[in-house]
């Protein structure tokens, strides 16, 4: 052990070595790295045609039949002649936008309420948890649909609706991890020392109790993209022509079966955006799986 290093760096290195001991972490983070690169470099990989709205997929013509890959459209075109390559590249940005926004907002609400509810207990806890119980009773997709219908269509509405529903999961997980932490000796010791409640939550409870929530959140980024894609697929989310993988699958929906002599003729129109969704979600799930193993308190040394 190198003593010259700052202990925090040493600890970080140790944690990273634990995470990357797991092959699924390596695959997951490499996939994520590719997606991040594509998202960041999107304007260079696929230069936007409409400067005012780069998310709009360019299309030449209005023919309903998808076209196979060619030198002009390297991934071919989908129904309505939208360029699949462009959609796939800019769709990465959309996916990150959805995942990060929904999970970010849900995490902030969920973690804050979870800490308050778990740490203070009593009547506040009772109220928060009963509200969560109620929201839990309706499946995520159904409740989101209802809210989207109430707010009106659009990708932004879908994102807000998802965030408004998703926080319920984090409150429960956060609260249960705090209920155990609250009774631990080091939290009690801090109380004896006269440390204020806020500092106890910030320094003792949050750093030790957030890991289960983080693991869950990393997996949920993927599943939120799935739900948003389905909403776009049925037409509640992104408007027509928007670079969104779910939307692109929807465009190709009527062409899953090709002409009689070549039933798989239009496979690319579904498979390419589909593969993007699956790989994106897979990346987050692999990361979450690796994090869960790495943060498992039972496996921590001593």
């Amino acid at each position: 052990m190198n003593k010259k290093q700052h202990p925090r760096i040493r600890e970080l290195k140790f944690t990273l070595s634990r995470i990357f001991r797991n092959p699924s972490a390596i695959i997951g983070f490499s996939l994520l790295f590719v997606f991040v690169t594509v998202a960041v470099l999107a304007p260079y990989i696929a230069p936007p045609k409409y400067a005012h709205n780069p998310y709009l997929m360019p299309h030449k013509g209005y023919s309903q039949t998808p076209k196979p890959p060619s030198s002009k459209n390297i991934f071919g075109t989908t129904s309505g002649q939208y360029d699949i390559f462009y959609g796939a590249v800019w769709g990465t940005r959309t996916a990150f936008k959805i995942g990060m926004f929904v999970i970010g907002v849900a995490l902030i609400i969920g973690v804050c309420l979870g800490i308050i509810s778990g740490y203070y207990g009593g009547i506040i806890d009772e109220i928060i948890m009963r509200v969560v119980d109620i929201i839990f009773a309706v499946p995520l997709l159904v409740l989101t649909m209802a809210i989207v219908v109430a707010f009106g269509r659009g990708l932004d509405k879908v994102m807000i609706a998802l965030a408004l529903v998703k926080w319920r999961d984090y409150v429960r997980v956060m609260r249960s991890s705090i209920l155990t932490l609250r009774e631990l000796d080091y939290v009690q010791a801090a109380r004896v020392m006269g440390v204020s409640n806020f500092t106890i939550m910030r320094k003792h409870i949050l750093p030790n109790g957030i890991y289960p929530v983080l693991v869950m959140a990393s997996m949920d980024i993927g599943s939120m993209v799935i739900v948003a894609a389905f909403m776009s697929f049925i037409g509640l989310g992104a408007p027509k022509g928007y670079a969104d993988w779910g939307q692109m699958v929807a465009l190709a929906r009527n062409y899953i079966v090709g002409p009689v002599d070549d039933p798989l003729k239009y496979w690319h129109a579904i498979a390419i955006p589909g593969a993007c969704i699956v790989l994106f979600v897979l990346a987050w799930n692999l990361i979450g799986d690796a994090l869960r193993d790495a943060f498992d308190p039972k496996q921590r040394r001593r």
Binding site: S24, R130, V131, D133, I134, I135, F136, A137, V138, P139, L140, L141, V142, L143, M145, A146, I147, V148, V149, A150, F151, M219, G222, S223, I226, A229, F230, F233, I234, G235, L236, V249, R253, I256, V257, G258, P263, L264, W267, I270, A271, G274, I277, V278, V281, L282, N285, L286, D289
Partner: protein, 343 residues
């Protein structure tokens, strides 16, 4: 034990009440005119909207409207569905058997398969069995239901031309509608009714159209159950009472299947409620893609055409399903765990 059940019952009644308030609050974000549209049955009536608003008291205070709404809902008046072109209550009973049929086949398969796979991979931890179920689980968990359904449809229906979408062959459908006396709808489940009416060909056709939806659902949902079962099995196997049993002279088979598995099922029961809800949720995408006119299909189409009463009704329905499933699970829980049963 009785106090436990009563407590759970009261709690679930409270949840149901809360869900209704929640749904009604969403409903109230609409302007009174928009809500009045739900009572309009023909285009001619549109100009009478303000009158309808007044008539129905749609601009009254929240609580008055809520109790009026609840009274209507409990008497079966759930509004009118454009998508189904009939009242929501009637439409519900028209669509419900289709969804029920799908889930009646899916849920048992998921439970049996999930518990079995989870047990096996928990026992053979870190072997090829465990690794392959792990990969299977992560892939299943990463596959969007709607996408998986489309790809399945593309291959099996498009390429091999087997397992067509829909509920039943059009020819049968027309025949059934025209001969209600020859084909009695005992259960409204085609697979059962076909047998009861002595028409195995109808049953066979219905089953062939169920195979792909059930398969899709199982692959996507079983992953969760499998992982929970696996980790709780691993935990039980390494517990002291398993070692005590070993020291008593038990063989591994006895420890796994007599000592560990029943204990391991306790946490599984807790996720099972969530699983059932998730499974119902999954049927939305499946019914939409496989063109099965069930609750999910209806919901998706209602959402697209902003058919509000349908959304509200289905939200309430899901709340009710949640409550019923949880009540069953609570009793199951008490049955498995003597610590609850006897306290």
């Amino acid at each position: 034990m009785t106090t436990y059940i009563i407590r759970r019952f009261l709690f679930l009644a409270f949840v149901l009440f809360g869900v209704s308030v929640l749904i009604f609050s969403i409903l109230m974000t609409f302007s009174p005119e928009r809500r009045a549209m739900a009572y309009v049955k023909s285009p001619q009536q549109v100009k009478d909207l303000p009158i309808i608003v007044k008539q129905l008291g749609l601009d009254d205070p929240f609580h008055i409207q809520y109790f009026r709404w609840i009274r209507q809902v409990s008497s079966g008046n759930w509004g009118y569905s454009f998508v189904a072109a009939m009242p929501v209550w009637d439409a519900f009973w028209y669509y419900f058997p289709i969804t029920l049929e799908l889930n009646l086949y899916t849920i048992p398969i998921i439970i049996i398969f999930g518990i079995w796979l989870g047990t096996v991979s928990g026992i053979h931890r870190d072997t090829w069995v465990d690794h392959s179920t792990r990969i299977f689980a992560i892939i299943g968990w990463s596959l969007p239901t709607f996408l998986f359904a489309l790809i399945i449809l593309m291959f099996f229906y498009g390429y091999f031309n087997v397992f067509p979408p829909g509920i039943i062959d059009d020819g049968f459908n027309v025949w059934i509608r025209e001969n209600p006396d020859q084909f009695k709808r005992y259960t409204y489940l085609y697979t059962l009714d076909g047998l009861l009416n002595g028409r195995p060909d109808i049953t066979l056709d219905a089953i062939s159209r169920l195979v792909m939806p059930v398969f899709t659902q199982v692959v996507v949902v079983v992953a969760i159950l499998l992982r929970v079962m696996r980790s709780s099995m691993i935990e039980e196997i390494s517990k002291d009472n398993a070692i005590t049993a070993l020291a008593k002279g038990a063989d591994h088979h006895t420890i796994y299947f007599k000592h560990a598995r029943k204990n391991a099922l306790i946490p599984v029961v807790t996720v099972a409620g969530w699983l059932a809800a998730y499974s119902m949720e999954g049927s939305i995408a499946i019914e939409y893609i496989f063109n099965r006119q069930g609750i999910g299909w209806w919901l998706a189409n209602a959402a697209i055409s902003l058919d509000l009463p349908v959304l509200m009704g289905i939200c309430l329905f899901f709340g009710l399903v949640y409550v019923i499933i949880n009540l069953i699970l609570d009793i199951l829980y008490a049955y498995i765990d003597p610590r609850i049963r006897l306290n």
